[in-house]
Each structure stands twice: as structure tokens, then as C-alpha cells.
């Protein structure tokens, strides 16, 4: 069997560095090979996604590295169309025999189903706005460098008689998309992340950053912040559940509002599973809330094209509290007689589309100002295990975690035990009193977004836990 690409590189022996990614012309060669092979099999149209990843992650706990991994992988995903039917087959083998087998599998799947009268022809060649999210320094970060940074962070926690756990990761990935109508798109990016939990007895706190450019954050500063807040979190006392004014740090805001993004999919409204059904154009949130989906924002990441290769557009979703626009895949746009916005998932799928690059409008209040303006309230570091209780009123439940602090008379006075909340997101975004500047935030429940810290009144905590 002839290999579609002869020049695929492996890591070079003794090095712990991540493998190099293929060059763009090699990605194109894989796509051209698939398109050529598909033409001979009776596929009327063919679309090919090639995705490659080279990631590494160092994990530490109890002030030492306990897991340390690297991966390199490439997948080729092929969608064929035959007689008004479509399906997808994916493989990670790129010899011609395997690619041919994947094409045949895709065709066989496609032919097994009824004709889809709504299936659209694949899009032709597109023009894309250029984004630069690849940093050599991030790609080059080695296992030794990560280990030394972790060592320094752990030395700090040991000095403070605390215990650290966390990760330091970096990697690079790329995607290429081509189809038989001449569309071709490529994108590559780097990513890096440092996250640390500092534990002092039963108390804990947390700090995390994430960027395409590893130089954008300092692991030592994050470690110092987690240490300081963990110390503040000791001797937590129990407060009664109820409604409190809360100051949500950006990570807490992110993980909550992350549950809204699917509701802005036109397909979700067509399916009547969105909280925006019968609410578009109405004053749903407070006037300070403006939300845009903007892949081109300097703090965002991701490819400037969607799963069908359409250019992603900047879309104003909420204008001063009023849900104004939705995002549309090609199929959803046709059904709604709108223009597609470049937010579709790779076909075939039942979800349609979603905005994945939310940017909230910010304000000018710092967390310190929010604390100073609060007579009685709580400062929330982070939320955990958030799940949807009611999909229409958007009631979410979850826990506070890693640092919940009491604010009295304009200052932080101590730590309190973690609460469970049951809170409507719609109500929460009506009750925002102050916004901080929007920053790139990272948590564990939602995609990274650009969100501000928020001061919110009447946030509903229903129960308290034991720590």
C-alpha cells in the first residue's frame, strides 16, 4: 500500500519534545488523495477533515509530579454524498488502503439510509480572515521545562506548609478541511495551560491560566495566588443558606454562562429546546449584558471556519440585555431563510451549530471595588459540577469550590463553607450590579471565554456542605 504522505515526522529518539506537525502541503496531499480515491468509488461529493495534535501534559499532586504524558495523533474524517444521502467515516491510518476503506465505509453508511431532501450541496471555495494563534515558544516547551516550573511551584507550597496539585500543559494542533467543490482551509494553533490547587489542611484555593502563548502567564504568580487564597480559606465557618449578593470571579462567571451557548443555536430554537424560544427580541437580561460570538477577538482561540468550511462571522447575540441574533449552520439558515453565520458542526449531526467563542461586554469595576461596595455578601473563586435543573428557566445547580469568602462592610472577613446553588441564569443576568473588565477566563465546565467578574444580587444558595 502506498502511503499518502511519506514525510510524516516522529519525535527524534531521546527527546521529550512534542512531535512536529505536518506541513500544510502534506495536509493538502492527504486531502487530494482522498478526493482522488473517492472520485473512483462513485461518491458524488466528498469532504475531508484532517486533524493533527501533538500535546503534552505534566500533572502534579502532593507537591510532586505523578503523571507526565505526551501524545501525537492524526485523524482523517471523510464525508461522502451519494444520491442525496450523506455519512462520515474516520480513520487514523493514512495509507491509501485505509483511506479507501474509510471512503467505502462512509458510502456504505450513506447508502443505508433514506434520502434526505434537506441535504445541501457542499460549499465551494471560501475566503478566510487570517488569525495568528501559533507561538513557537509554546510548541517548544519541553518536559524538562514543565518539570522545573512545577518544581518551583511546589517548592513555594512546601515553604508555606501547603500541598499543591495541578497541571502544566502545552501543545499544538492543526486542522485542514477540503472538499470536492474546491474548498480548502487550514488552521494551526498552540495552547498552554497552568492550573494549581493549593491545600492547607482542609482548606484549598485555586488559580489557572490558559493561552496560545505560554509567555502570557507566569506559573509562579499563579502558584503564589493560590497559596495566598488557600491560607485565607482556612477556618471556614458555616453560614445559613439563602439569597446573597455574590462577587463572581471570571472563572465562576465563565462556568455558569457557558451553559447558555447552545441556546443561541438556530437549530435549538427550531427543535424547541432553547430557553430563547418565544423570548427573542425581549428584554430578557439586564441592560449591562451584551454578548458577542467573536472568533477574531484577540483573547479567543479556534479556527476561523466551521465544520463545513464556512468562514466564521462575528455575531451580536445579546444587545443590552435583549437576545438579538442566533447563529446558523447552512441547513438551519435555509430552514429559517437566513444567511449562515459559519457556526455549523461537521455533518451529519443533529445539533446544527453553536457559538463557541463568546465574548461578554465588560465594565470598569475591579473585584476590589466590588468588595468595597458590598455591605454583606460572598466572594466566589470557582464553581463546580454545574448541571441544568430546568432547561427553560435555565436553573442551574452546582457547588462553590476552592475558596468562598465572606464580605462584610466592604472587606473580606473570612472563609465560609461551600454552598450548593440553584440559580436561574436568566434571573442572574438580570441582577448584575457591576461588571469588571472582560478577560480570557478558564474553568473546568465550559469552553474558555472572554468574560468579566460580576457582582450579582440575590444569588440563591440552597444548601451547605461539610467543608
Amino acid at each position: 500500500m502506498k502511503a499518502a504522505s511519506k514525510t510524516r515526522k516522529a519525535s527524534t529518539g531521546a527527546s521529550a519534545e512534542a512531535a512536529d506537525l505536518l506541513h500544510e502541503h502534506e495536509l493538502r496531499r492527504i486531502i487530494d488523495t482522498v478526493l482522488r480515491l473517492a472520485k473512483c468509488t462513485g461518491a458524488e461529493e466528498t469532504e475531508v477533515h484532517v486533524d493533527e495534535v501533538a500535546d503534552a501534559l505534566t500533572r502534579f499532586a502532593n507537591n510532586a509530579i505523578h503523571q507526565n504524558v505526551a501524545e501525537h495523533g492524526l485523524t482523517v474524517s471523510i464525508r461522502t454524498v451519494a444520491d442525496g444521502r450523506t455519512a462520515r467515516a474516520t480513520t487514523n491510518r493514512i495509507d491509501e488502503g485505509s483511506l479507501r476503506a474509510a471512503i467505502e465505509a462512509s458510502l456504505s453508511l450513506a447508502q443505508s439510509q433514506p434520502k434526505d431532501p434537506r441535504l445541501l450541496p457542499m460549499p465551494g471555495k471560501q475566503r478566510y480572515r487570517r488569525v495568528n494563534r501559533f507561538f513557537k515558544q509554546t510548541a517548544a516547551l519541553s518536559a524538562e521545562e514543565r518539570a522545573r516550573a512545577v518544581r518551583r511551584a511546589c517548592d513555594l507550597t512546601v515553604k508555606k506548609e501547603q500541598v499543591a496539585a495541578g497541571i502544566y500543559s502545552n501543545g499544538q494542533s492543526q486542522s485542514a478541511l477540503g472538499n470536492s467543490r474546491g474548498l480548502f482551509a487550514t488552521y494551526r494553533e498552540t495552547h498552554s495551560e497552568f492550573s494549581i490547587t493549593a491545600q492547607e489542611g482542609p482548606a484549598a484555593s485555586w488559580a489557572k491560566a490558559n493561552s496560545a502563548d505560554v509567555r502570557a502567564f507566569d506559573p509562579q504568580k499563579l502558584a503564589a495566588r493560590a497559596c495566598q487564597k488557600a491560607h485565607l480559606a482556612v477556618n471556614a465557618h458555616e453560614l445559613a443558606p439563602g439569597r446573597y449578593t455574590v462577587i463572581l470571579e471570571p472563572a465562576a462567571v465563565l462556568d455558569l454562562v457557558g451553559f447558555l451557548f447552545y441556546d443561541f443555536a438556530a437549530t435549538a430554537l427550531q427543535d424547541k429546546r432553547s430557553c430563547l424560544n418565544e423570548r427573542m427580541g425581549k428584554q430578557l437580561f439586564g441592560q449591562s449584558i451584551t454578548i458577542t460570538d467573536d472568533i477574531y477577538h484577540p483573547l479567543q482561540q479556534g479556527a476561523p471556519f466551521d465544520g463545513e468550511g464556512l468562514p466564521r462571522q462575528r455575531v451580536l447575540l445579546v444587545d443590552r440585555g435583549i437576545p438579538t441574533n442566533l447563529v446558523y449552520s447552512r441547513a438551519a439558515a435555509k430552514a429559517a431563510r437566513k444567511q449562515p453565520t459559519g457556526h455549523g458542526f461537521a455533518l451529519p449531526n443533529e445539533y446544527g451549530e453553536a457559538p463557541m467563542n463568546l465574548v461578554f461586554g465588560g465594565g470598569d469595576s475591579s473585584i476590589e471595588k466590588m468588595v468595597a461596595s458590598t455591605e454583606h455578601g460572598l466572594l466566589v473563586t470557582r464553581l463546580w459540577y454545574i448541571r441544568e435543573v430546568d432547561p427553560y428557566e435555565k436553573i442551574m445547580t452546582g457547588m462553590t469550590r476552592d475558596g468562598l469568602f465572606l464580605v462584610d462592610n466592604g472587606r473580606v472577613t473570612g472563609a465560609v463553607r461551600n454552598f450548593r446553588f440553584n440559580q436561574s441564569l436568566i434571573e442572574m443576568l438580570k441582577n448584575v450590579e457591576f461588571l469588571g473588565p472582560a478577560v480570557r477566563a478558564t474553568g473546568e465546565e465550559a469552553f474558555e471565554m472572554v468574560v468579566p467578574a460580576m457582582k450579582v444580587r440575590n444569588f440563591h444558595f440552597s444548601e451547605v456542605t461539610k467543608f
Binding site: 527524534t12 424547541k272 440563591h460
Partner: protein, 486 residues
């Protein structure tokens, strides 16, 4: 495959590894969904690659590759050793592994019908027929169905001489009807929510579900929920259906007993556990009728946590977790077993794929059957609420405080189901809840449920776990908290 593994182990040894193990894995998957009478996802995928885990300088390193050539595998093994040596720059203690024998074996999970050999037309026709049955019901605004099949081959080799091949065939299937009316969304699923039932079985699982019988029933319930009464807020008697109890076991017993969590290794992400080492053999976890095991053996059933060997080459075992209400055991691996006084791993190291490191995972963590007949349990309940089919789940990062809601509830008065309730929810503290259990149904009502989507680890891994459960009763439970004060 064994040549590749040997090549990797030889390279690792040459580069300075004191121990190494290799997993070559070939994963095949087929996904079919429908929505509102149309085919949604129709996809098939395969992935093959190799992961190498090594101990060098007393620390761990792991690397993986899909480049299955002699040079690609050697480079991957060398990278794993280099990473282990980097890990040693920030180690506190040498890793010590519990002794384990070398095994040479081959095992295949039992199935009657290979789902990949069943014509796609047959599979889609069944889903579309179930979809149509649900859409026939007035008030239903969204119908969804799904099937998922996986065939996973793994070839495990270790430097102590093990050579183990396993093939596992997994099937999953479910249907759901949603109704949007008057500013309210209600949903019913069968046989479980979030994708239905999943098991280590072939297509016979799908055929056993009788989708066409249950499709109109759940559709009618979804529409009827709009006019049902709101679940009251109170402290009272709760009966949980078996699938909901399966998830309750997963969250409030399965996760807390993972020894990596207990030891702080997940403190930054999945969290820790209230089950500190001093609790073993001391804590009264549950009432005396509660017996829970972690059982990966085929004898326990064909669950998502069933295998012959874990991904560290340790044979499947049954471990007592709760015996007559007392806390008796953790899930351990070769590295952590000695910390709880064991001389051997309990065999729970599992990996999602060739490119992920094996980590401690639930196997089949199951509540053993009790003595009650289901009808007798209902008849014996004077005033209570029966809750069925999970809708949402959440628990704190030490696994004390939880809240669950279900798709449907039923008020029980005087030993009879008297009316449907919407938006049911309950909450509690783990040990208080399990100590309030006063009735468990017998084996006739026991099902080994599959949870296909358990996320843990960094990079994140998704794993399937099994949870045997029968309907059970709990007293003095907080009910209705999710919707209180809204």
C-alpha cells in the same frame, strides 16, 4: 502487535526504564441517531495506536503514537523514558509497585450478535420506527433516538512478561421524547436518559429493549408532565428507580472510593474524597442492609466495567466496598495498594484509548440485591415519592453533598401510586442518605446499568462504568430542593 510491543519495551529498557508496559489498541465505533424522523448522526470511526508507560529514575513517563512502524514505536518509547526522567526532577518518593504475576492470555467478551454485522438498514429502521411512534403523540415537540456500538481490541504487554489480548464489544441504545408547552420543557427517556442503556453485549441488547413498546409510553408521559403537580418541597420517604439509583451509586460511592482521589492525585480537577484512609473498616457508610461490591468479573454481569484484566495487567476481581453497611474497601492500583494494607492491586486501572494513561476507575460498582418485591415495596409505603430516570446530577468535590433531579415522579399514598409529579429532585449528605436506606428490591428487579460517560483525569478520559441496582427506599430525605425559592 506483539512485535511492536516488544520493540517498545526493549527500547524503553535500553533507555533506562526499570519497568514498562505497552498497550496497542484498536477501537472501532459506530454511531447512529435520529431526530424528528430524520437521520441525524451516521458515522463510523476507527483508531489504532500504541501507548507506552515507563518507570525511570523512580518516576513515571507516558507517550503515545499512531505511527506503528518499528522506528515510530521506538521513538515513542524513548520519549516516554525522557518524560519519566523529567518527572524525576520533581518527585518526592520513588514509585513502588505491588507484585503481580505475568499472564499470557486471550479473552473476548461474550455476545450473541455482532452489532457491526447487523445491516445498517435494520438498525436505522428500528430507530426511525421508534421515532415515529413517539411523534404520533400530541404535544411531543422533539424526538430523539440513538445507537452506539464499539469493538475494542487491546494488546497489553509488560516488562514482567505479560502478554494479554482482550476484545470487548459494547452496545448502547436509547430513545427520548421532549415536549415544549407554556414556557416549560419536559422530557422522558427510555430505558435511561443520556443515551439509554449501555452494556458489554452485542446487538441482543438492542433487541431486548422493546423500543416500539415503550416509545408511545414515554412520549405520552412527556406531554402529560406539563399538567402534573409540582413535586412538593419536604423531608420524607423516597423510592428511587433502579437507573437513578445506579447514578446515585456512581456519584456517592463509586467516586469516593477511588484511591487516587483519596490520596489527593485528583485534587486540582475531579476532586478528593471524604473517605480518608482512617475511615477504612471504621465508617458506618450505610444501613446494615446495604452491600456494595466493585466487581469486574464476568460472573457479576456484562457491564461496562467488566473485563478479564485491567490495563495494568491485573486480573479482574470482586472487592467488598460496603459490607453490612460498613466501609470495607477502595479501588486501588499497583502503585497505591500498599497504602491501604493490600499486597495486591484490586485491578481497576483503565484507559480510554491507546493515547491515554491508565488511571484508577470504577469497574462495576453495584448495590447487591435485597429481599423486597417491587409491588410489596410500593404497598408498604404509606407516604412517599417515587423518582425515576435521571435529569440532572451534581455533587461536591469531596462527595459529601449531592443533588439529583429526575424526569418524572409519582406520589405514593397508602401504598399506591396516586399521581404524577413534575420536576422532582432530592438532595442530601452521602453517608446520611445511605444510612437511611430501609428497603432494597430483590434480584428480579436488579439491572446492571451502564454509565458510558464518566469523565476523569487530565487529559480528560471518558470511561464506561457499570452499576447494578434495584429500586430502593430511603427515609427522611430532603425532597424538592432544586426548585425551592425560585
Amino acid at each position: 502487535m506483539w512485535d511492536l510491543s516488544t520493540n517498545a519495551l526493549d527500547t524503553a529498557k535500553l533507555r533506562g526504564a526499570a519497568y514498562g508496559d505497552v498497550r496497542v489498541m484498536h477501537l472501532r465505533q459506530r454511531d447512529l441517531t435520529t431526530k424528528n424522523g430524520q437521520v441525524g448522526t451516521l458515522a463510523q470511526s476507527e483508531s489504532i495506536g500504541l501507548g507506552v508507560r515507563v518507570l525511570a529514575n523512580g518516576a513515571w513517563g507516558f507517550a503515545s503514537t499512531d505511527r506503528l512502524t518499528r522506528e515510530g514505536v521506538a521513538a515513542c518509547a524513548a520519549q516516554a523514558v525522557s518524560i519519566a526522567k523529567a518527572s524525576a526532577l520533581a518527585k518526592r518518593n520513588e514509585v513502588v509497585l505491588a507484585l503481580e504475576k505475568a499472564y499470557v492470555d486471550s479473552w473476548q467478551s461474550p455476545f450473541r450478535k455482532d452489532p457491526f454485522e447487523i445491516p445498517l438498514e435494520t438498525q436505522l429502521a428500528l430507530l426511525l420506527a421508534a421515532d415515529a411512534e413517539m411523534r404520533r403523540v400530541k404535544g411531543v415537540t422533539l424526538t430523539e433516538t440513538d445507537m452506539q456500538f464499539r469493538k475494542i481490541d487491546s494488546w497489553f504487554a509488560s516488562s514482567i512478561g505479560s502478554r494479554i489480548h482482550q476484545r470487548r464489544v459494547i452496545s448502547g441504545c436509547g430513545i427520548a421524547a421532549t415536549s415544549f408547552q407554556k414556557e416549560e420543557i419536559q422530557k422522558r427517556s427510555y430505558p435511561n436518559s443520556f443515551g439509554g442503556q449501555h452494556a458489554l453485549q452485542g446487538y441482543e441488547l438492542v433487541e431486548s429493549l422493546d423500543l416500539l413498546k415503550y416509545a408511545p409510553i414515554i412520549a405520552e408521559e412527556a406531554a402529560a408532565l406539563h399538567s402534573a403537580s409540582q413535586c412538593p418541597e419536604k423531608v420524607g420517604t423516597l423510592i428511587l428507580g433502579a437507573s437513578q439509583l445506579g447514578l446515585q451509586i456512581h456519584e456517592s460511592i463509586g467516586h469516593p472510593i477511588e484511591l487516587d482521589r483519596v490520596l489527593g492525585q485528583e485534587a486540582n480537577f475531579a476532586g478528593t474524597s471524604f473517605l480518608t484512609l482512617d475511615q477504612l473498616n471504621q465508617l458506618k457508610y450505610a444501613s446494615s442492609i446495604v452491600n456494595v461490591v466493585a466487581d469486574a468479573r464476568l460472573d457479576h454481569g456484562q457491564g461496562l466495567g467488566t473485563f478479564a484484566y485491567d490495563d495494568e495487567g491485573v486480573p479482574a476481581q470482586c472487592t467488598d466496598i460496603i459490607k453490612d453497611g460498613k466501609f470495607r474497601g477502595y479501588l486501588s492500583n499497583r502503585e497505591t495498594a500498599h497504602l491501604v494494607g493490600l499486597d495486591r492491586s484490586s485491578g481497576t486501572m483503565r484507559t480510554e484509548s491507546w493515547n491515554r494513561l491508565p488511571i484508577i476507575r470504577m469497574t462495576n460498582v453495584s448495590l447487591l440485591p435485597g429481599t423486597w418485591d417491587y409491588d410489596d415495596l410500593i404497598a408498604d409505603t404509606h407516604d412517599g415519592i417515587l423518582m425515576e430516570t435521571n435529569r440532572s446530577w451534581s455533587i461536591d468535590d469531596r462527595r459529601y453533598q449531592f443533588q439529583f433531579s429526575t424526569e418524572i415522579g409519582w406520589e405514593i399514598k397508602g401504598g399506591k401510586k396516586v399521581r404524577m409529579l413534575k420536576n422532582p429532585s432530592y438532595s442530601g449528605i452521602t453517608t446520611e442518605f445511605w444510612n437511611s436506606c430501609d428497603a432494597i428490591c430483590k434480584f428480579d428487579h436488579w439491572t446492571l446499568w451502564g454509565t458510558p460517560n464518566c469523565g476523569k483525569g487530565q487529559p480528560m478520559q471518558t470511561m464506561g462504568t457499570g452499576h447494578g441496582a434495584a429500586p430502593s427506599r430511603f427515609r427522611n430525605v430532603r425532597i424538592g430542593t432544586a426548585f425551592s425559592n425560585q
